[in-house]
Amino acid sequence: MRAVGIVLLVLYVAAAAAVPSVLDPGWLSLLSEILLMLAMVQMWNLLAGYTGLVSLGHQAFIGIGAYFVFYFSDRLELHPFLLLPVGGVVCAAVAALLAPLLFRLRDAYFSIGIWVFAEIVYLLATKTRELGSTNGVALKAMRLVDTETFARDSFWIAALLALLAVGGVYALIRSRLGLGLMAVRDNELAATSIGIDVWRNRFAAFVISAFGCGIAGATYFTGSMFVSPEAGFDINWVVAMMFIVIIGGIGTIEGLIIGTLLYFGLREGFTAWAGVSGSWYLVAMGAVAIVVMLVAPRGLWGWVREHRGWQGFSERRQPPAMAEGGQG
């Protein structure tokens, strides 16, 4: 397993290094978008799939990360790429402040609470003149950027983020924290009784999730050099993430890779190649989601796992002989 992982990693790095000199700019930006979506969806799934908190407000972190980088790279005369991690930290801080409020809410109430928060941030952004109000702002710090290499570097950052998100979530769910999260998700009472701090586990997942979405969102909008409240705080970010998670399989890592490829495959297939108008691909995606929920509620990868026994990036460890079938 370890050897396969290393081979995959080497292949990924080699491919990422080669791609910018092979693909034309249109394809490169599509590929960046796919990789960033993969990173975000891993972060969303870390929360939904491993703690059971379905966030309908993660667009808030995407927008906040983007606006932070746009505003401060111009103000502080810093290269926007340098501020990307700081944007993530800001989002993590926002999440940390929000958590004591939102964690008082259960299940669906949490989903709506965070959605309302995202709406409030969106409305505030539309009313802030320094952030361009409803019109949005261009990346003024482009004056500090080498435009020759900008697209290439954006792509590399996207590739790095996707790798870190997949690897990070994998490492996380196999750690003490991840096992605690899954124990809480599966049976909160039992988890508490064996000494797992429910609140702290959820808090950690929420903050990490916000951090990742913040960086990925900031990278996406920096790459496109423009952000507006409509785009940055668009509920459709979460809509796309939910699709990918539903189809691929909630609480799986590989499933999300499949889901992401399917989502973009359908989108590009319908709009770019078949030339079918904008909303039909969404109708198709929605229908696919309904069918998947009816036939395989654990998503495509969950189905594969059940019927084929493939494990891939599973949270399941090779058990010592005694503990067979313990963690599932």
Binding site: R104, L124, F243, I290
Partner: protein, 288 residues
């Protein structure tokens, strides 16, 4: 005087918001299902109303509500029987939530393809513009009728659930679906009628709201958000709480509009958030 009028109008708008949340609260209370397609059904009812308006011009708009509600009941019944029941029994509350999410996206984008994205409005004729003067205040006759209708519907649902045999069956099914089977009740059928009723309420609210403000296929999202805020503000399991929650939101929205004409929704959302901080169980919820 201006302010009193604003608050009265807020109450009248809030009654309608209460209706938006009623069906959502019912479905959540009985089945623990979060219906993310609720907003799309509200908007579909508005389009159905527009169709009826074109077919029968000159009829009092309040009469359109009835056929649309009957249609919505049927749609809800079929939706529950064909799709949602299959996912409820999986036991994972996420499965029906994600299913209705898929449904919401399908319905929203089908509406985009069928009706286009231009904003539309229902014209209710003279009745919706009539008003009465009372102690120097001008109050719309139509919003007043909506308030009365909403109060009647809330009371009717409360009575149905608390006093009738059907209500007892619903409450028992909600408490323990396995045990009611032993008494000869089919939980799935109960769920079907509950979903039908919930969508009928949503449809009434949808048509009435369309008579006040314009709508597009994308309006479902914001209407779903209002409905959710109403339910959470009111507190779980309390229909009168939802009514109060709707009124609080309506007043906050119109007062906000008066303070700052392009940020009405911001004030409603802020109110929601403040209540959440002070009372996470909602206005009428028990603080356990």
């Amino acid at each position: 005087m201006d302010w009193i009028e604003t608050i009265i109008n807020g109450v009248l708008l809030g009654a309608l918001y209460g209706l938006l949340g009623l069906g959502l609260a019912l479905v959540f209370g009985v089945m623990r299902v979060v219906n993310l397609a609720h907003g799309e059904f509200i908007v579909m009812a508005a389009y159905a109303g527009a169709l009826l308006a074109a077919l029968m011009p000159g009829v009092n708009p309040l009469l359109w509500v009835l056929p649309v509600a009957v249609l919505a009941f049927g749609a809800g019944y079929v939706l529950q029987a064909v799709l949602v029941n299959r996912t409820v029994k999986s036991g994972d509350p996420l499965t029906p939530l994600l299913l209705t999410f898929g449904l919401a996206v399908v319905l929203r984008n089908l509406m985009v393809e069928v009706f286009g994205t231009d904003p539309r409005a229902l014209d209710g004729g003279a009745f919706t513009r009539a008003g009465v003067d009372f102690l120097g205040l001008r109050i719309g006759l139509f919003p007043l009728a909506v308030l009365v209708l909403a109060a009647v519907m809330f009371a009717a649902l409360q009575w149905l659930l608390a006093r009738t045999e059907w209500g007892r069956i619903v409450r028992a099914t909600s408490d323990n679906a396995r045990v009611v089977r032993l008494m000869g009740v089919r939980p799935n059928r109960v769920y079907n009628t509950v979903m039908g009723l919930a969508l009928a309420f949503a449809a009434v609210a949808g048509v009435l709201l369309a008579l006040r403000s314009s709508f597009t296929p994308y309006s479902g999202v914001e209407r779903l958000l209002i409905a959710f805020e109403v339910v959470i503000l009111g507190g779980l399991g309390s229909f009168w709480g939802a009514f109060a929650g709707g009124i609080a939101l309506g007043v906050a929205q119109l007062v906000g509009q008066k303070l700052d004409s392009n940020a009405a929704a911001l004030y409603a959302h802020l109110l929601f958030f403040v209540v959440l901080v002070i009372r996470p169980t909602g206005l009428a919820g028990r603080s356990s």
